[in-house]
Symmetry: C2
Subunit: 671 residues, 2 copies
Amino acid sequence: MPPPTIAQQLAAKQREISVAEFFERNRQILGFDNPQRSLLTTVKEGVDNSADACEEAGILPEIEVEITKEGEERLRVSITDNGPGILRKEIPNVFARLLYGSRFHSNRQARGQQGIGISAAVLYANLTTARPAHITSKVQEEEAAHVLDLVIDTQKNQPRVVSEDLVLWDRPHGTRIELVLKARYVRGRQSPYEYLRGTAIVNPHARIVLVEPDGTRVTFERAAQELPPMARETLPHPYGLELGELGYLLKATRRPTMGEFLSKDLAGVSPRATKEVFERCGLRASNSPGSIQGEGQERLLTALHEVSLVAPSAESLSPIGAMLIKRGLRNVLGELRPEFYAPPVSRPPKVRGGFPFMVEVGLVYGGGLPADQSVQILRFANRVPLLFQQGACAITTAIGNLDWRRYGLEQKGGSGIPSGPAVILVHVASTKIPFTSEAKEAVAEDPEIDKELTLALQAAARHLRTHISRKSRREFASDKFEIIQRILPKLAEKTSRLVGKPIPDLTPVITRIMDVVNVETQLLSEKDRVRVPVEVTNYTPRPRVLELFVEIPPEEFAVATFNPAPEGTEPALGRAWWTLPKLVPNGRTKLEVAFPATTEVEASDLDWYVAGIDESHVLGADPLPGDWDVRLPRTIVEAAEAAAAESAASGEEGEVDYDAAESSAHASDEE
Amino acid sequence: MPPPTIAQQLAAKQREISVAEFFERNRQILGFDNPQRSLLTTVKEGVDNSADACEEAGILPEIEVEITKEGEERLRVSITDNGPGILRKEIPNVFARLLYGSRFHSNRQARGQQGIGISAAVLYANLTTARPAHITSKVQEEEAAHVLDLVIDTQKNQPRVVSEDLVLWDRPHGTRIELVLKARYVRGRQSPYEYLRGTAIVNPHARIVLVEPDGTRVTFERAAQELPPMARETLPHPYGLELGELGYLLKATRRPTMGEFLSKDLAGVSPRATKEVFERCGLRASNSPGSIQGEGQERLLTALHEVSLVAPSAESLSPIGAMLIKRGLRNVLGELRPEFYAPPVSRPPKVRGGFPFMVEVGLVYGGGLPADQSVQILRFANRVPLLFQQGACAITTAIGNLDWRRYGLEQKGGSGIPSGPAVILVHVASTKIPFTSEAKEAVAEDPEIDKELTLALQAAARHLRTHISRKSRREFASDKFEIIQRILPKLAEKTSRLVGKPIPDLTPVITRIMDVVNVETQLLSEKDRVRVPVEVTNYTPRPRVLELFVEIPPEEFAVATFNPAPEGTEPALGRAWWTLPKLVPNGRTKLEVAFPATTEVEASDLDWYVAGIDESHVLGADPLPGDWDVRLPRTIVEAAEAAAAESAASGEEGEVDYDAAESSAHASDEE
């Protein structure tokens, strides 16, 4: 026999690689880089699995994570849930076989999507300590719990049951996994504690307990007694579908005709759209899906992308929502008390590759937040906090690509993570998050997601800019006010004494220098209610008839009380307005909005607008936006005209009756 | 039949996920995030495969990449090599089956390690354009080439041959892959051009041709006519081996006894170490490997980690080497001509998880490099340029964790990417690089690799600090020189004219103010040689007898010529030294080192040292380091003493014979 040729030698080395073998060698890809991160990944995969299982079964999750020391760089991790339990026959595959699971093929937002996570933790434990995974699981219908010791046969990627037993367990149903692994427990950043706290914040329906190696027991109590609305499975949407993907759908469908395929296997294709698609691509509703090949598929896809379809539904998504975003931020910030919460931004759902997704952004600013550091970024994907790989994440890139200098933050060269006293929270929700790796710690760059991230961040940043510019305008003005009101009277007093004349009324002078109407709001948290008093002062040299408008999130508007009662309201939009009593120069009026103490309302939730005066003469409120479309009552219009006439009559120099102004101000005080 | 319970319903959804199906859904993990990156990943996987195949067969690689437009956002990519070709029976598996390959199980540095890359490109092409991969391959021994059209059956992760033919091909052997995919061609950053240029730089034995969609043909010519030494396969080294891994090795071995297992299946365990291991763990050389279980394995591993083993060998690694690092940097920098090349740092090989690895670092500074931007980072892994995911890479983290302010670069807060006119090149070589994902674009965090990265970066940074501090000292002094030498004579002239006296000799004054010996070197590239003239000037007020030393990389030293001939040399260390003629105040002497024009010597390759004078009185050279261990000849010692005596005799005020100094300077000029 002749010696083997080079091609033959090389061919002889070709071999199949088992997926378990692959990940055993490349465990860093799964998030098992080092002992600290390996612990976090293990906790995360276990808790995500438990939460998904509970929610799918309609059970309010109770999850306990216990971490105990087992030796030098060895920890025992046990994660117990009150989920539905797992049937005996599925236990080995669920915990000790990679690429096996129930959520990969479902088109619905879930934490786990890959069928890798928990088996990867078992693989890592086997590898580093040679100890099997110890599983206990009980379903409601059975008397006893199944207890299995499992290892993964990596060369075959198959579970191997090392031992097995039936035991009585003091709970109606649930699952526990115990692993002994090479790991290190660290508190603080990127710790199980941080991960569980972040999880608790955006999953207030879960009760989570953490027992740390030193015995410390931390309980994140349940803050909501209801499960979030169950995300519904949806069909793939044609927007963003690739040719190859369409081909697979056509091949896999059981529908006998193309008509049925379009209307029943795809989302968003109305009967009208179906008709239009067939007209455009030259196919017939009666064609069999299997008969559409090559060019036919291309024409079909082009048509689907051209006709107008029903927008993707958000039913398969489970966003965090404005209230929880705010609560999440407040929880993380603790004592730092930022001065400004931007209204959380929630973008409408979009589609990439047939999968719907949406972006939410929260932003807080100022107060006790450190001003000389990079802003803090809180990343979430499908309600799971992302703690590693910040630098690799599309969220970070989108933040870095925005020129934050335009919005009031410092940023070297106009790109990169900005610095300043701010925290930015970003949540990406999708039936399929494109993670950069199986460790699910960073969202991959994607043009569609990038676009939504940028739009959402810009919206939040615009709120920030408005806040900062208002703040600086107000600070500038209040410096000016203070000087005028403190120094002018003293000057007048001294001068009068020197010349032996009575002190003159300074109102006309002061108002002419200041020349603004000041709208000052506060937020006072009292025991049984939250009060928002508003004080409007006319520091202009002429009388003013103004309308004041407020916009409040509708859910808070519903429980708000107003004093005096507004002249008009639009509860669905959270809007109310008043015509203020006529304000002479230096005249003042007050009103108040109050909420029950349970409302988590922030000063920045209330937007104040003013009509009847030029924008440049108002501090603390904005001109009424055009989209309000509120018709000013005729009386107001008349009153405004009368005031203007009166002002004109009294001359541009504005000789003003000080007493009248005083009494007017008192009158409104007494209301 | 009762309705299914919740646990049964959930169980019914559990399914196996094919690895192809998984990656089809998560193609961003493989580097197919968007049309631009997908093109780069395709080119990269094809070229890496071709280069590996050529090198394994001992063939100098010739690789041609041709990219042509096929339609809207569609490109055809063809990659052709002169490799050994692939046997017909292996073609389908190699190109259309994930996790199949020859390099995963070999313990040797290679570009491809995962058995995923090229099949992933085929999967992506199938998915986005529904077009099969078109493969042509011919082995030397066969007359005709096999031509196959392939797609991947994703549900089974198996290749499907769509069509097949035999054709004549005008090359003795080689392989071509042609793919049509959704992709976008962009020049510049993160482009196929940048990738191929980077590849050519560190693989000078390869000839690479790129044909761009507009027809532009770029050829990276071969710069070396020899293949780099073939990296040898090595056995796993016990350092860093985990318990589970040891268990697999014990189970898989065919050695009948533990004695043979330790000495033949592991690297670095000498017969003496074997004996010691058995003593420590209580096992016997005659034990069968299969009989060692649980606790026995733990004791064995502890013993292996405690006894001293032969250090891991670098034979399985293929570092870039100092010369290519420099050439690589020079190539990238082009016209920017940095002022300083730090000597490339190459750390000795270390082991993690049984796999050897090593780190190399190059650094350049100044010249035309932009000073107001972040430093440029060039990352390489196993001689492959890494263009994406910089933020996720352990190399970036290690750079960001160093406090570069201590080494002369700007860095906000002392962490993060520093700014300044510098480029840092880092290469990690290993038989198994821990990439963060299958896209192989970033090295994962790992304590062992981090440590080596930090040490290598610190070494390079120290060179930078020395350079910057020398430069600033010299700049400070030369400002001073210039002022003194320009202004003092004018002052003297004017004053003398005013008082009607002759202009005095200023030498004593000037030398007393300056009070340094200046060693000035230049590097002059001429047509046939590179000259390094050195000028030593005594700007101190007393005569000096000095020794001058130079250190040159030994390979360059071997071809250097010296004028005058040095008094002593140590060619193995690249060292030479001279006793300089006695230098009176303002006296000067010159010498020169020259190299053939082919030498790629840089000014910073030559380190200059001086003995016979206090460090604070020298500019442009350092004091002789203690490790030189050169005995000064007795005559020199005597001469130095004589000079000191003479200086003492002439008094601290230093009345100096100007003529003598002049003539001395001229004498050395004439040498």
